[in-house]
Amino acid sequence: MTGLDTTVTANRFLRVRRGLRHAGFVLGAAVLLLTIAVALLAPLLAPHDPLAQNLSIRLLPPAWMEGGRPDHLLGTDHLGRDYLSRLIYGSRISLIVGFSTMLISGVIGSTLGFIGGYFGGRVDSFVTYIINCRLSMPGLLVALAVISLVGGSLFTMIMVLGLLFWDRYAVVVRTATQQIRNADFVSAARVAGASAPWIIWNEIRPNVLHHILVIATLEMAMAILSEASLSFLGLGIPAPTPSWGLMIAEGRQHLFAKPFLVWIPGIAIFILVLATNLLGDGLRDLSQPEGRR
């Protein structure tokens, strides 16, 4: 009993240490942070203008392959644009789409989940109905249809993905809220005269937050993949802007002669999505033993 104060700080310290010992969490966080840094510092890091064409050096292989040039480390594409620079700038698109979609769908889904889970009854039936409507739509196909109607741009893509992929948030937050709304501390707040939004924000949200975070990372990975897919199909980011999906699409014509055109952005997508998923799994593992009791 004597050293409880030290155990308080020790607990916090141990939690951080435990986080640092979780390999997946550390790896995922490191890769994601690195990608963010690259995206932010793109103008400083990119050796060339990602849009500058130079047809005389088109389809150069990476520097370590035969015929490669050291000033174009990852070679050039079919228009002679520096591949490394396009890759660096492309990370911006992936991250912007990932984060914005995650935010929009997170707000929509969590709000629906909180409302359905907290109020129950008819309100919950209505929320469940909306969730079911969403779940019965093939997400990516609807996105395809809408974007081909309105025309692709960064903004429409974010809005369409954000307005579509909130279902997982809603389902999980609703269930978690249902479990917590019957806790005595919620009753105590109600007796103290708290309004429903107050209770949801102050008493329930902190207990659901770790669920939301885990889904957020998974949804972000999902959005990055969707952006790549849509851009690959020519429905996402319009042509000159560097996007990893678009880079694969453009490299596809040269798949047999110059496979690196597809490999390089493909690996980039793979690593970023894997890292986000690792981060999400890590968050889930780390948030579980804590809290209860």
């Binding site: 009753s187 007796v191 902190p206």
Partner: protein, 280 residues
């Protein structure tokens, strides 16, 4: 003496849905219960699980609305009171110390919650009052900014009591506040309730399944069985001569720590609607 809580002929039945179109089953939880608590009094409601005692407490706390009957607090119908007005009159202490405080908030935040909701008090005064109560309920100050998972069940219950007191309510509704605790901790909490009653001029509606627990702190006892209050009376008179067979059974179920006695005989065949016992 003023009548702080007046429960008149209150009934509530739970609706159990059996199917989408079939009419709901009605399961009566409380049947025409009448009970009053005067200011400064401790009234205990005793009964087994399913007797409706917790449902009655929830109705007093306005967490459930009675189907029929009225509940008046401080002379006014409970439903007519605004949420903040109500909160300054009545506050709860619940049974499960693990569910009754938010695991993600510090103890300081938990205790201040009702005051924050009520508003009108500066953040500094909020914390000041929380600190005073923290000490008053017997918690060591160094735990003030700790989280609930760092303290024991008994300490959690002290936090819940401090939270209930921060608005200086007149009536505390305690729903089995010690039944999840060890006997030694139970004794500490019961003692605390006794002290706080004097210091804060509190009135208690105290729910329990164990007559031994309420024996020392209750002025009057009401026994509930299958949703009805089958007997109520002053504690002394009740313990001297309980009239309803269920009350007798409850009383004989208390096991004193005296070796060599046989276990009491309990049989649970009672006729309902037996005489209501002595109304004081």
């Amino acid at each position: 003496m003023t009548r702080l809580l007046d429960i008149q002929n209150v009934s509530l039945a739970f609706r159990q849905r059996t199917g989408l179109f079939s009419p709901p089953n009605l399961i009566p939880a409380v049947r025409s219960a009448s009970l009053h608590v005067d200011a400064g009094e401790v009234v205990a409601v005793v009964g087994e699980s399913g007797s409706g005692k917790s449902t009655l407490a929830k109705m007093v706390l306005r967490l459930l609305t009675p189907d029929t009957g009225t509940i008046a607090i401080d002379g006014k119908p409970a439903q007519s009171l605004g949420p903040r007005e109500f909160a300054r009159l009545v506050q709860p202490v619940f049974q499960d110390p693990y569910s009754s405080i938010n695991p993600k908030r510090t103890l300081a935040e938990i205790i201040q919650t009702p005051l924050k909701i009520a508003g009108g008090v500066s953040a500094r005064e909020c914390e000041e009052r929380a600190r005073d109560l923290f000490e008053r309920v017997g918690l060591p100050m160094r735990l003030f900014h700790s989280y609930p998972n760092q303290i024991s069940g008994g300490q959690r219950q002290r936090v819940a009591i401090a939270r209930a007191l921060i608005l200086r309510p007149k009536l505390l509704v305690c729903d089995e506040p010690t039944s999840a605790l060890d006997v030694s901790v139970q004794a500490q909490i019961l003692e605390l309730f006794n002290e706080l009653k004097q210091d804060f001029g509190l009135t208690y509606l105290f729910i329990s399944h164990n007559l031994a627990v309420v024996e020392r702190i209750a002025d009057r006892i009401a026994v509930m069985y299958r949703g009805e209050i089958v007997e109520q009376g002053a504690t002394d008179a009740f313990f001297a001569a309980p009239t309803h067979p269920y009350s007798k059974m409850l009383l004989s179920s208390v096991l004193p720590p005296i070796p060599g006695r046989p276990l009491p005989t309990v049989s649970r065949v009672f006729e309902l609607n037996t005489p209501r016992g002595s109304q004081p």
